[in-house]
Structure formats: C-alpha cells, structure tokens
Symmetry: C2
Subunit: 186 residues, 2 copies
DNA sequence: TGACAAAGTGAACATTTGTTTACTATAATG
DNA sequence: CATTATAGTAAACAAATGTTCACTTTGTCA
C-alpha cells in the first residue's frame, strides 16, 4: 500500500525521525515485525530509504518534491520518467553553517524581483563581487543593495530607478551576500 | 564545544539521520558513552534535540536558519534575542503530499517577480480564486498565468504588459495553484 | 593553593533493536 | 480448479541501544 508511505511521512513530519520497527507495528496496524521488515525492504529497493549497518534512514527522494520540466505557453510538462527531485533547503542553502535569513522591507530591489516581505538567504562573508546583492553597512547604516566596484572604490546601487546610488562617505562594510530569495503567496 | 554540534550537523547532512551514541564516540573522539550521554543531555536542554522514549530526534531549531528582523535602509538588524528560526521547506510547502515544483520559463509573470528560471511550488487542486497564479490548460495548451474570474466565466492574464489576456475558446482547466517562488542567484 | 564544578572513563545492565526462520492466510493468475 | 506468489503471524535471538553508577581527570576561579 502506498498509504504506508504516507503514514511514514506523517510520522517523520511530526517526530523528525523514522519510527522503529515496533513503532511501525502500531503505525501500520500489524502484529508481526517481519511484516514490517518486508515492507521496509521494498521501500529500500525503491530508493526511498537506505540502510547502513542496520540503521534505517530516508534518502533525498523521501523528502524531496518532484521537479517537473519547464513550463512555457503551449509546451507540455515533461513526462513522469525524467523527473528530478529537489529539497528546497538543500537547493537554496549551500552552506547552512554560515547562512541566515532576512526579511526584506522596501522596494529598492524590485528590479531584481525582490519585493517587500520576501525572505532572502544570506551567506556570511566579507568579500563580494561587483554585481552581488549584499547586506552591508554603509556609513553605519544597514542596507541590502547591489555592490558595484569601480577599481578599488565601491558603492551601492538599488534595483529601482526611484533611488540614487549610495557612495560611502567613510566606510562600506560587507556582511554577507544574498544567495537566494523566496516568496510565499497569500 | 560547539564544534560537536557542527559534527552532528555534518553527520546528519550526510546520513539523513542522527548517529547512535556509539557512533558519536568516534565522531567526538571519546571513549565513554556516558560522556556522549551528558553532551546530548545539554543539547536537549538547549532545545536542539528532543527525546521520546529513549529515541533521539532533532528539533526544528536543529535544521532551521535564524531569521533576522526586517532590513530597511538605516534600520539595524534585530538583536540575537528575538531570533526566529525557519526551515525553508516547512515555511514554503504546506502540504508536501500534494505539491510539486516547476521550473518557470518565459517572462509573462515578471510583474509579480517571477522570472525565467525561477522555481515555483505548486499545490495540486482544481479550484482556485480569482487572482491566484495557476498552472492551467487553456484550449489544450499549458500555461502558468493569473486566473481572473468574471462571474461564471474565467480567463487568464499575464503580469507583463507585453502579453494580452487569454480567453479560452473551449475549455480552461486548472491543475494547481502557485503557493511560492524561489530563485537562486549566480 | 585549595575547592569545586565540569568533562571524561569504564563497566554493568535491562530494553529494544533489526533480522531470521518456519509456518499460515490471502490474493492473484492462468 | 489447482498453483504460486504475496502479505502477514509468531516466536526466538544476537547485537546494539540508551541509561546508570562509581570513579578519575581536567579546568576554573577565588
């Protein structure tokens, strides 16, 4: 049954771990651990779980959502076969240890599709390339803007014609680089 | 040591599960399980893990990234104290069972900040409200557009003045609603 | 220096784990 | 129908699990 898998996903969502075989007995309404053993064996074969020295763990496929092909007016969605699987956390966050999130306010980056209320993923580092969107302190004021380097000097720009470029009077210190944006609708 | 936590995170990233106490012995270069026991106890107290009938599991805090406060030109980032923690998957995907991802192509939704190459999270359902961004089939052609309802009739619009509205000649069938967008830079 | 907490060792132990074996019930198939 | 694979039961078992106890080492701070 595929509803077994759904129960496992529910359990995982709730407990952030997989149930033990004895816990699965209750979860599946079974009364023999061997039944569970066989069920898990099939799930391992289908690539949803893996085992390493008798410890069960989910694979990425277990967490991930199917990524369908490119949508363009008139173009059909790719078939089931060439499905890719993606976990948003893994896809968006390369180095979790040095990353953090930031809620954006203001419309200074709308040109890049970063709106008020969006959340950006920032990687902590002091060096950035010209063109990067950076979290920086310019003359002691925080800003989320585009870094522009002209020779050794650097300034910040917006992605909105409403705002002029910012040239630092004293100092411009970079704290991190925006690696991704996410936006929830509704 | 905080580098213990880093090692646990590495292990989790690699194996998609927590190590057992005996595995932690090696991971921490220790030789007594009691040392491990005490270490874990502290991590439980600090809210990074939880235990339920002797089974260890991470909490959301373990996975999540800190979400800092609103950034606005001149406004400082909120202090460490009022930190929130967020997992992107949990934040963006409400119902994983009925959701899938789609890579966007085309510029028909730039007005809503959805660009070519972005990935949208779509929830499978046949009903949508006027104003929702929907994945639909209009006269047998796939489209990712804005649904507009006028009375009982419905049509699709773009978020780009370049494109005219689409009025279905025969049928307009909705397959899902866009719940979120994500975009990676570089 | 001395006192005391924090961190680690080592061994012991009841429970629980995943696996195996042998057997039965159910369903599917030609 | 008989046959054969599939799904489930029941019991037994070695190995590994998390916990506890008593003790030692290391570090901290007054």
């Amino acid at each position: 049954m595929n509803d077994r898998l759904a129960r496992l996903k529910n359990f995982y969502k709730k407990h952030k771990r997989l149930p033990s075989y004895s816990e699965m007995l209750k979860l599946f309404n079974l009364s023999s651990k061997n039944a569970v053993f066989k069920i898990i064996q099939k799930l391992v074969e289908s690539g949803l779980f893996k085992k390493e020295n008798n410890k069960l763990a989910p694979t990425s496929k277990f967490f991930a959502l199917p990524l369908l092909g490119v949508v363009k007016a008139g173009f059909p969605i790719l078939a089931e076969e060439n499905r890719d699987y993606l976990t948003l956390d893994e896809y968006l966050i390369e180095d979790p240890q040095s990353s953090f999130l930031l809620k954006v306010s203001g419309d200074s980056l709308i040109g890049l599709g970063i709106f008020d209320g969006d959340i950006v993923i920032i990687e902590r580092k002091r060096l950035a390339t010209s063109g990067d969107i950076v979290l920086a302190q310019i003359d002691r004021e925080w800003a989320l803007k585009i870094l522009k380097k002209d020779g050794i000097k650097a300034h910040l720009e917006s992605a909105n014609p409403k705002y002029p470029p910012f040239y630092p009077k004293q100092e411009l210190q970079i704290f991190g680089v925006v690696k991704a944006v996410v936006r929830k609708f509704n």
